[in-house]
């Protein structure tokens, strides 16, 4: 359990809490190196560049500042469409979060990709993709390519071991809307989520990476201990 939480902490820290220097490194990246990352990681499903069309995944031209699931002629997962309607837009932070761990940002995504944990390779990849967007901004602080510095979540806080009983109490707030049966209509089911995905997702709402007014409000007052406890409780549920 301890080990798991350490890996979670690294993952959350990478997504949500880049230090200032790291943030700039991420923002720039090396597009040339990114082309190679793209060929290895993405090209079997996605096309980008002149004449690119939808394949297994949608083409990635003009991805920056585009609303999620916004190609009318591509069939997305319901989960990605839902987040698109809620306002998820592909800016640099969210592309990073999505590529690092797709399911942490969009739980029900159809993109079956394990995620790219390596920070440097990821920023190279994003820099490469940015070449194919309309107005790539080369000033790192400017939208849509800037990474806003986030509150630094210390590893100590992130390594907190969840209190299952507390999590059970906290989960009662969830069950007003999310059914214990796992029903997934109108409001998504949350039963059976891997602990790590749960923690990252809740932090993503808390940091407003994920759109949705209710969830942003719910997560706003969940501290690290509460999030860890909820994750531990849901992980301890036998489906």
């Amino acid at each position: 359990m301890k080990g798991l939480f350490l890996s979670v902490s690294l993952s959350v820290g990478a997504v949500l809490a880049p230090s200032a220097s790291l943030g700039q490194a991420v923002a720039i990246g090396d597009a040339e190196a990114g082309a190679e990352v793209y060929r290895r990681e993405c090209a079997s499903c996605h096309q980008v560049g002149e004449g690119a069309t939808h394949r297994i995944g949608p083409h990635l031209n003009h991805i920056f500042d585009r609303g999620a699931a916004s190609h009318e002629d591509f069939r997305y997962s319901g989960a990605l469409e839902r987040q698109g309607r809620d306002g998820l837009t592909w800016d640099l932070r969210r592309l990073h979060a999505y590529i690092e761990n797709p399911r942490a940002l969009v739980s029900g995504t159809r993109m079956s990709y394990r995620g790219l944990k390596d920070e440097e390779r990821r920023s190279d990849l994003v820099a490469y993709l940015r070449v194919f967007s309309d107005q790539p901004q080369n000033i790192p602080e400017a939208a849509p390519t800037a990474i806003r510095p986030e509150v630094d979540l210390s590893p100590e806080i992130l390594a907190i071991v969840g209190d299952v009983e507390y999590g059970e109490y906290l989960s009662q707030e969830c069950s007003t809307c999310h059914q214990r049966s796992g029903a997934n209509e109108g409001i998504p089911g949350i039963v059976g989520w891997p602990e790590e995905d749960f923690v990252v997702a809740m932090h993503a709402y808390k940091e407003k990476l994920r759109p949705h007014a209710v969830m942003q409000s719910v997560s706003a007052r969940l501290g690290e201990e509460e999030i860890a406890s909820l994750a531990a409780y849901f992980a301890a549920l036998d489906e």
Partner: protein, 420 residues
């Protein structure tokens, strides 16, 4: 569903565990009695029973055998929801181990700690939870009292009153006038009157498009006003007129026999009149001596405990707690706090800090849903809002449709949470 790893984690959490001796010693099973089987009472009864694994004797007193929710009853009016789908039985609550008694609670002896039932028997308790919802203030609207409810329905406690109102609207003459007398604050379901007007307008725009809607409102502003007014102009242009307090909306008399409404001295003939009077805590709260001069039952913000009696908790619409709106969602949220506290005091289980939340969805027209909500915490004097949100005017149709679909998901979620 079962929990594991409890023992492993217990050591981590021992510091915050409540180690106090249970309040009731030497007695086989402590007794919790809950009056009222709605969103608050149903939830607290089921949660205490299921989470205490039989260690607490839980009795729920509720006169009706089938509970019809107020929320979504407007959607039934608008033709978006089936009447039967508003109804919920008590089988699931009974299955959780609750002793469900279908009877009226007509008195509480707080010294003897017993609840008297209309059938004559009495039920003893160690902790009492009172969740009776609302009643109407006598003579709040001149000319109207509860005996006039068949001529001018309130339709504000769901059930047959809503069926009656729907029937009256359906049979209204062509080009007739539907009038709503809206309530002053505070009242159950703040966006309820606005949603009801929307649903009546939807219904009339299909079956009786020359009909008019007149709202007589004593309030300067109302919940989700900008969203409703935008929607009314967009979907039902010209059909709806609202008379606020500046034009006499607070000075109203109704004449049920002649179907007239007198607004600031001016007589209007109407065809259907929905009178939603000023409200107060359900009568049993008053009979139990738990209410104040305002007619509501004041409670401690951290645990919804009556300020009048440490062994009594008041939940939901009847409670005067501060910033939370009177809604089914609020009652359900408060019930979980009370269940945690009651169980802790009776069995020694851990008591966690109160957390409250609420979201209210409303439907304006087909696939045009909006929402408002907030998170709350216990302040020193009352429950306070800590973060809030509301749908925006001008939102895309796709988002509005999604919000409506979300509200259906919520309805199914909360009713499963309350009734099992």
């Amino acid at each position: 569903m079962k929990l594991q790893r409890r023992t492993f984690l217990a050591s981590v959490s021992a510091a915050s565990a409540v180690m106090a001796a249970p309040a009731v010693m030497g007695q086989a099973r402590p007794r919790v009695v809950v009056i009222g089987g709605g969103s608050g009472g149903g939830t607290v009864a089921r949660y205490v029973a299921k989470d205490s694994d039989g260690a607490v004797d839980v009795t729920l007193i509720e006169p009706t055998k089938r509970y019809y929710t107020c929320y979504f009853s407007n959607l039934y009016l608008g033709g978006f929801w089936d009447y039967n789908a508003l109804g919920h039985g008590y089988e699931g609550i009974a299955q959780a181990g609750v002793n469900v008694i279908h009877d009226w609670a007509i008195g509480v002896d707080r010294d003897a700690r017993t609840v008297t039932l209309a059938s004559g028997s009495s039920v003893p308790y160690d902790k009492l939870v009172v969740a009776p919802g609302i009643d109407f203030v006598d003579n709040a609207v001149a000319g109207w009292d509860i005996t006039k409810q068949s001529m001018m329905p309130h339709a504000y406690k769901s059930g047959t009153q809503v069926q009656l109102l729907k029937n009256q609207i359906e049979n209204m003459r062509e080009g007739g006038t539907f009038c709503m007398v809206a309530p002053p604050n505070p009242y159950r379901c703040p966006p309820g009157p606005g949603e009801r007007v929307s649903m009546v307008a939807h219904m009339l725009s299909q079956s009786n498009p020359t009909a008019k809607i007149l709202i007589v409102d004593p309030k300067q502003n109302f919940s989700k006003q900008a969203l409703f007014e935008e929607g009314w102009a967009k979907h039902y242009g010209g059909m709806i007129t609202r008379i606020g307090p500046d034009f006499g909306g607070a000075n109203v008399e109704v004449r049920p026999d002649s179907m007239e409404v007198v607004i600031d001295g001016q007589v209007e003939s109407v065809d259907v009149c929905n009178v939603i009077p000023a409200q107060k805590a359900g009568k049993i709260a008053e009979l139990a001596g738990l209410t104040n001069d305002a007619g509501w039952a004041p409670v401690t913000p951290s645990d919804m405990r009556s300020t009048m009696d440490e062994n009594v908790f008041v939940l939901g619409d009847a409670a005067q707690q501060g910033a939370m709106p009177k809604s089914g969602f609020s009652a359900n949220s408060q019930a979980k706090v009370v269940a945690n506290v009651v169980r802790g005091e009776l069995t020694g289980s851990r008591i966690f800090p109160a957390r409250y939340s609420n979201t209210c969805w409303s439907l304006i027209a087909t696939d045009d849903g909006v929402k408002v909500g907030a998170s709350y915490e216990a302040g020193s004097e009352q429950i306070e809002s800590v973060s809030s949100f509301i749908s925006q005017t001008g939102e895309e149709a796709d988002l509005r449709r999604q919000t409506y679909e979300e509200s259906i998901g919520w309805y199914n979620g909360i009713t499963a949470d309350i009734f099992g």
